[in-house]
């Protein structure tokens, strides 16, 4: 990495001077990430959405479910920034509350996916043998199942309550995490520090948690941000088909689904929820790509 140090003639004093300037990998990683303007834009978008979700009750100009028969399907105006729906409810306010649902579902689902994926990947890579074979075949099978099909069947059996949707989206998402973790473990398993830990009698669980898992934090972040993006899209598709979470506050997908019936006389109804989904997902994708580029060691120059 630090090629200048090895090329310069050995001068202990100089080396000592240079040494403190050399940054740790973590600092390099952060620098590379924040130098990427698109990644920073992604962070900005996601933070904005999170703030919108958390402070929805403060920001929203109208209660999300307040019905105003007089103001049905009004185009965007000062009073209703993004127009109203067929019951005269403010679309902007509903989108803010929708952010709560979409983000919570996506974050929790990705949490489920990462937990399953990392655990199975660790076990598979560390133990190898038949266990590895079995876990990898299951991973392949899950990879092959068309996600939306799986969701539809799952929801029709277990219902559309939040817990069932969290688990279903998590079950779609874990295979890539498992494969990544397994590859990490396979490459780290023979490193000296792992061998040393083993020689010192550390248990398998300790090695996995203390030595292997921390090395997978950065690549997991990449997969997690892309996974959250995927979960938001999957949840919106499910809501669009009419199988989304059944709760009083609308999710973004449900709004597009209803707005679809009014495209000819209320274009704003279906457009704004879709734009919101697109911008949010784009934010997570920007972050994921930025993290991936920052992880690539060829960037540290």
């Amino acid at each position: 990495m630090n090629s200048t140090a090895s090329n310069t003639p050995a001068n202990p004093a100089q080396v000592a001077q240079i040494a403190p300037i050399a940054r740790s990998n973590q600092q390099r990683f952060m620098r590379a990430f924040f130098r990427n303007r698109i990644a920073v834009l992604g962070v900005f978008i996601v933070l904005t959405m999170v703030i919108c979700a958390v402070f929805a009750p403060v920001i929203a100009p109208h209660p999300p479910n307040q019905i105003n028969p007089v103001d049905r399907l009004k185009p965007p105006s000062l009073q209703y920034p993004l127009g109203t729906d067929e019951f005269g409810r403010d679309i902007f306010s509903r989108l803010l509350y929708g952010a709560q649902i979409s983000l919570v579902i996506a974050f929790v689902a990705q949490g489920v996916a990462i937990s399953i994926g990392l655990t199975l990947g660790l076990v598979s890579g560390w133990y190898g043998g038949w266990l590895d074979d079995v876990i990898m075949r299951i991973t392949d099978a899950f990879f092959a199942i068309p996600g939306l099909m799986f969701l539809i069947v799952w929801v029709s059996i277990l219902g559309a309550n939040p817990i069932s949707i969290f688990v279903a989206l998590g079950l779609i998402g874990w295979p890539s995490d498992a494969r990544m973790m397994r590859a990490q473990v396979l490459s780290l398993k023979e490193r000296e520090y792992v061998l040393a830990a083993r020689a010192m009698g550390a248990s398998a669980a300790r090695i996995m948690l203390r030595h292997l898992l921390p090395n997978a934090v950065a690549p997991s972040l990449v997969l997690a941000s892309l996974g959250i993006a995927g979960a938001i899209l999957a949840e919106s598709s499910l809501s669009f088909i009419g199988l989304g979470v059944q709760i009083p506050n609308p999710s973004w997908g449900t709004m597009i689904s209803t707005g679809r019936n009014f495209t000819s006389n209320a274009w704003w109804y279906a457009i704004f929820p879709g734009l919101t989904i697109m911008i949010t997902v784009l934010g997570f994708n920007f972050i994921g790509d930025g993290l991936r580029d920052a992880l690539d060691p060829s960037q540290y120059r």
Binding site: P146, L148, S156, I157, G159, S237, T263, P273
Partner: protein, 314 residues
């Protein structure tokens, strides 16, 4: 090669059996009474005797295992039964709708490759230029839009007289008129083209530094020959892989696209069938979907051998 294909086809049989069993169990686990779901309101007006007769007729009053082996036996004889709702043979439903779904999926894949590969190649050849950055941001935007919303926007902008632009028909199959297929294919192919563009770029950049490209250039081949014969051809393998991996996603996308464009494919049937517990349709269509998926995987593997002569199956 023939031997390899034969073995792969044979391997599909146990896999299909497992898939059929899983689907059957899942269908059994779905809450609700199939007869009630089929008849809806009408169910409440029927007297118990009629209900018993109908249940007998549909065969849904028998024990689980009897039903399972009955369905399995008929499936093996390629008799998929009749839809509870439409009273139409399931094989006819599949025979009419599967080709239309496949047609749409092929349209989507064609769009994905025709847009994705050139975009990725240009990006890689002009790495770090503004064109590269722009194309890659567009690709990410393409990846970030829900398919159904893209469909709605396409309909809103390109098919309505309200915007003054009426290029495409709003929806429908148009009795096979290819013009009706363009917009749904574009919508279905957008996501794929974004994925393909990104993979093509990475793959092209990986091949870029290889010695055989320098050799090819050194021996005086034109840029075009080097690009097409040496550079792109060697970069194609990951693209085939990704299209194969995306096949499930394309199926899901087709389902949603069909709903929006009123396309007479299998996707629209399956959602209704699941919601109304139409057992023969669920079993037939899902098993057939799985089979299509496996055949697509086999074709992907065969295309590998076609592109890369180093790969030999035996």
């Amino acid at each position: 090669m023939t031997k390899y294909i034969a073995r792969r086809v044979l391997q599909m049989i146990p896999t299909l059996l497992i898939i059929f069993t899983v689907i059957f169990v899942l269908r059994y686990l779905m809450p609700g009474d199939p007869l009630k779901a089929t008849l809806g309101e009408e169910y409440n007006r029927l007297d118990p005797a009629t209900i018993a007769r109908l249940e007998e007729e549909l065969g849904i009053n028998r024990p689980f295992l009897v039903q399972y082996f009955d369905h399995l036996g008929r499936m093996l004889r390629l008799d998929l039964g009749r839809s509870f709702i439409e009273r139409q043979p399931v094989i006819d439903i599949i025979g009419y709708r599967l080709p239309r779904t496949l047609q749409l999926m092929l349209g989507g894949i064609a769009v994905g490759l025709l847009i994705g590969i050139p975009a990725g190649v240009i990006s890689a050849l002009r790495q770090y230029s503004w064109l590269d950055h722009t194309l890659m941001v567009i690709a990410l935007i393409g990846l970030s839009m829900p398919v159904f919303w893209q469909g709605l926007m396409a309909q809103l902008l390109l098919t309505q007289s309200t915007t003054g632009i009426k290029i495409f028909p709003v929806a429908g199959f148009g009795d096979g008129d290819p013009w009706y297929m363009v917009l749904p294919s574009l919508v279905l192919g957008t996501n794929l083209s974004a994925v393909v563009a990104r993979i093509t770029r990475t793959s092209m950049l990986e091949v870029k530094g290889q010695d055989y490209l320098k050799t090819a250039r050194a021996k005086g081949l034109t840029n075009r020959v080097v690009l097409f014969r040496h550079h792109m051809r060697n970069a194609m393998l990951p693209i085939v892989t990704i299209v194969g991996l995306q096949f499930g996603g394309i199926m899901g996308g087709a389902l949603v696209t069909e709903t929006i464009f009123n396309w007479p494919g299998l996707g629209r049937v399956i959602v209704t069938a699941i919601q109304r517990l139409d057992t023969p349709v669920i079993l037939g269509v899902l098993t057939m979907g799985a089979l299509t998926f496996m055949v697509a995987n086999l074709i992907t593997d065969l295309i590998y051998a076609l592109i890369d002569p180093r790969i030999r199956y035996n």
